[in-house]
Subunit: 379 residues, 2 copies
């Protein structure tokens, strides 16, 4: 499954460091030269140690990074000063091996909260990570927790290559609640443009899938651009290409929702603005009543209207149309709508007559499987 | 189950008007004289017709009401102009029978969204409602939808009686998503004081139970004070008495959560302010990951910390303590904590070291039963 278009100058490796009971649990993304880097971090007010260290490193290095080091199986969150020391130790060790500054290392963790992470296990595995054979699949498997499949997406446009990895279930998991994504590209691009493109793409991809409304202590999306292609794409072209990769990854996360049986694309039209359309879309896509209706193939449009109203966005019209595929739901043919809802994939379109704002969000249904997965986990 | 302390000058009656397939579905609260009235309405931007009519009536009558007319089985929501006409017709008919102004009638509906409500069935039932024998139990049953038991609470303090009714499951139901509460009292109290007391009590009761994050098109809490006791209580005393009745009702709603098997009192201490404590409490109590952990008796404190962080409230300390009953959870005795979590009722206390703000919220666990109830309903 290795992508055809691996960006020039990058490698992706993985190993089993013994952080999980078994399997790949440590991954490395390595650039052969310093890369311009940007990242979007969790808004959770209890950020994990690696989030704090990476945020500091980004600013200290002037947004230049050589490598991303990620472990699964332990979030290194809520571990206080010791957690910070462990993250810094791993960063220093990798920097020593690479002959770069520790501030050029981006570190990330996902897994159980509140258990000490062994710096020794991570450090011992670093040499084999550095010398390992590049494999996008192996790296993507090393960052999985409750994911049921690895998540990789790639693109080449006019000689610029972008490769992205993600982990995360459509609904986030106890103690492994994290949504991570790492993207590498060989485009020539400066920091301000890269940061702007990343934020634009993240809003329209990872921030447009709904999980269960929780944000984790460890969520992060980071991008490294090493310029190895020698090509400097137009900002709009690069942003579109990045958004495409991020949307592909985000949709695989929604499809892999814990216990999910259906995938839904939700289009909001006629909102006062694009941002407000996205707010409404997220409100609908997050509603447990909407998600259980989708599970039960119930064309219960009252739940959709109530969820739109629950978003808090003021609308100038109370006219509302709702379509599933091409079938109108409000005062429409509910039997036909119900048939459409039985499919594994569906598209619901909500038209609000309050402006030209538009957004697309993605979600999954809400099943007994979610309850079982999350109730049965025992610390 | 009729309360010992029925406020003077009020009666509560009920009948089967044929709105539901069977059973009581129409209730009337009637004061023998005009009563001072205050209400808190849903923040949903698609309020149902009865919400619009009652809001207008309250302001047109100068906050004086003679009666509250409530039906279950049909929300009269998303019915456009016709829905408004139906609500107004019912109001006019009742006003004619009572010989008062239509603006002195408060009207409320709960049930399926988007289906026409028959004004005729409601109007035909009004004479028997007016002449009926007072029964708090019958009235409370007439406003039930998915509730598994009727919800009534009462109090007498220094001669002032307060009687409250509520309906609503701890998690709100498809098409019957509504939380309603009606409170009557024979206290002598002016509008501004009554309104202030109601808002204070509602914040600390109905707004402190979590449902699934959705607000309905029909939610309302209304109070009528007819002064028939001749007693004018001190504002603080009346507010405390009202809060007590509202908290009793709110807790019964949380206990009656759809599919719920456990009841949780969640105390937040050491927040920057009381309001922020309540925001944090609601964030924790609403988290599906927390609610499934409670269901699974999993002392998984990482989920609680993540939910606190997810509230968006800025804390000056990252010190946090969590107790279940008297057992510390963070780095504490998890086996003992797990034992406590197996109980049907538990108290979780979160101490934040960031101020003197404090709040109590109530919630229930999240089980497969919720999914089944909400997925199996078919329009």
């Amino acid at each position: 499954m290795d992508p055809e278009f691996f960006p020039t100058g990058f490698k992706a490796t993985a190993t089993a460091a013994g952080i999980k009971k078994s399997g790949l649990d440590l991954g490395l993304l390595l650039s052969d030269r310093p890369a311009t880097a940007a990242a979007v971090f969790t808004t959770n007010t209890f950020p994990a140690a690696p989030i704090l260290v990476s945020r500091l490193n980004l600013s200290e290095s002037g947004h230049k990074m050589r490598a991303v080091l990620v472990n699964s199986g332990n979030a290194n969150a809520c571990n206080g000063e010791e957690g910070l020391a462990v993250a810094q130790k791993c960063v220093s060790e990798l920097a020593t091996w690479l002959g770069c500054s520790p501030s050029e290392i981006f570190v990330s963790s996902t897994g159980v909260i509140g258990r000490p992470l062994s710096a020794e296990r991570v450090c011992d595995a670093i040499p084999s990570l550095i010398s390992g054979t590049s494999s996008a699949e192996q790296f993507s498997r090393a960052i999985m927790t409750t994911d049921t499949f690895p998540k990789v997406a790639s693109s080449e446009v006019n000689g610029v290559r972008i490769l992205g990895f993600a982990k995360g279930s459509g609904m986030i998991h106890p103690n492994m609640a994290t949504m991570l994504s790492f993207v590498v590209t060989d485009a020539v691009i400066d920091y301000l443009e890269l940061d702007r493109a990343l934020r634009f793409a993240v809003d329209r991809s990872f921030n447009s899938i709904t999980v269960d409304g929780d944000t984790s202590t460890n969520d992060v999306v980071a991008i490294l651009a090493n310029g190895a292609s020698g090509i400097s794409p137009k900002p709009e072209a690069f942003t579109a290409q990045l958004m495409d990769v991020c949307q592909k990854l985000a949709k695989t996360i929604a499809r892999d929702g814990e216990g999910a049986s259906k995938f839904v694309e939700l289009v909001i039209e006629g909102a006062p603005s694009d941002d407000e359309a996205r707010t409404i879309g997220r409100s609908v896509a997050r509603s447990p009543l909407v998600k259980t209706a989708i599970y039960g193939s119930d064309p219960n449009w009252g739940r959709l209207v109530a969820a739109v109203g629950n978003s808090g966005v003021e609308l100038v019209s109370n006219q509302i149309e709702i379509y599933i595929d091409d079938i109108p739901m409000i005062h429409g043919d509910l039997a036909a709508a119900q048939e459409k809802m039985k499919a594994k994939e569906m598209r619901i379109r909500i038209v609000l007559h309050s402006g030209s704002g538009r957004a697309t969000v993605w979600t999954c249904d809400f099943t007994e499987g979610y309850i079982r997965i999350n109730a049965d986990y025992t610390t």
